[in-house]
């Protein structure tokens, strides 16, 4: 009986270890670490949470809103599972910045001061700087102006962007 109990305990512990390793391996591919609590998700894992700032008139739903269990701080995670890039796109940094603006206003000192962008194989921790905040608010204002504009011109010289663009066939300024 002693041997049977020891074997049973060892099997259970081994299965537990396998589960821990599998969870750790998964966390390396998702960007959602094991030491965080997911508060909201727009990726179908939990109910999404729409954050709004009525003063700046910006709103958004981060893919994951998580709380670091060690520090108690909250930060957003934006995932782009099909993106293979090894450098962070400025557009993704600004989208994340918008979530950070919203978290700053919603959570105040509980906001961690950074966010995470996860691509297929790369991960970026983006600090929320005053410069990023300024760029985000300026982009929001530019969008409001664009909605009233008679025409808006291409804002880059990157051919690859045009190749990947969904409206390139309708765009007279396309580089593709």
């Amino acid at each position: 009986m002693t041997g049977q109990a020891a074997v049973l305990a060892a099997v259970l512990a081994a299965l537990g270890l396998v589960a821990v390793v599998a969870a750790w391996l998964l966390s390396r591919t998702t960007g959602v670490r094991g030491d965080v609590t997911v508060l909201a998700s727009d990726a179908g894992y939990l109910t999404p949470e729409t954050l709004e700032d009525p003063d700046l008139r910006i709103r958004g739903r981060p893919d994951y809103l998580v709380r670091d269990r060690a520090t108690g701080r909250v930060y957003p995670i934006e995932v782009k599972p099909t993106r293979d890039a090894t450098v962070l796109y400025e557009s993704d940094a600004l989208q994340l910045a918008a979530y950070m603006v919203l978290l700053e206003s919603r959570y105040g000192p509980e906001f961690a001061g950074y966010g995470v962008v996860r691509y297929r194989a790369a991960e970026f921790r983006v600090p929320f700087t005053a410069e990023l905040r300024r760029k985000c608010i300026a982009a929001a204002e530019a969008i409001r102006e664009a909605r009233r504009a008679a025409v808006i011109h291409r804002s880059h010289e990157i051919r690859a962007k045009c190749w990947a663009c969904g409206v390139r066939r309708a765009c007279e300024e396309s580089l593709a």
Partner: protein, 100 residues
């Protein structure tokens, strides 16, 4: 988020900010001029949503595995404690032998 932000001319969504930064003209063509994307692009968008859902499922599995690990390790400890308790009782309070 983009569509909803476009309907209200004052509110701007985070995804719109990302789209506008990617290319201001592409944003304007899509959201202001309502230029239709080709069907292939539409299916790529659907793929993107599918990938997000798949990501959510992976995170859900990750959490389930952690919970399973906790349960399994607790069960292992419980087995050892129950067995040790029985063993201790047997050695400290031996059952008297029955004899006729």
């Amino acid at each position: 988020m983009g569509g909803r932000g476009s309907r209200d001319t004052n509110w701007v969504s985070a995804s719109e900010i990302g789209s506008y930064e990617y290319c201001a003209r592409a944003y304007w063509l899509e959201q202001v001029q309502h230029t239709e994307r080709p069907a292939a692009t539409g299916s790529r968008l659907a793929d993107g949503t599918g990938h997000h859902r798949a990501h959510g499922r992976r995170v859900a599995w990750q959490r389930r595995l952690v919970r399973a690990a906790v349960v399994l390790v607790c069960a292992a400890i419980l087995v050892l404690v129950v067995h040790a308790t029985r063993h201790w009782r047997r050695t400290t309070h031996p059952i008297p032998e029955f004899s006729l």
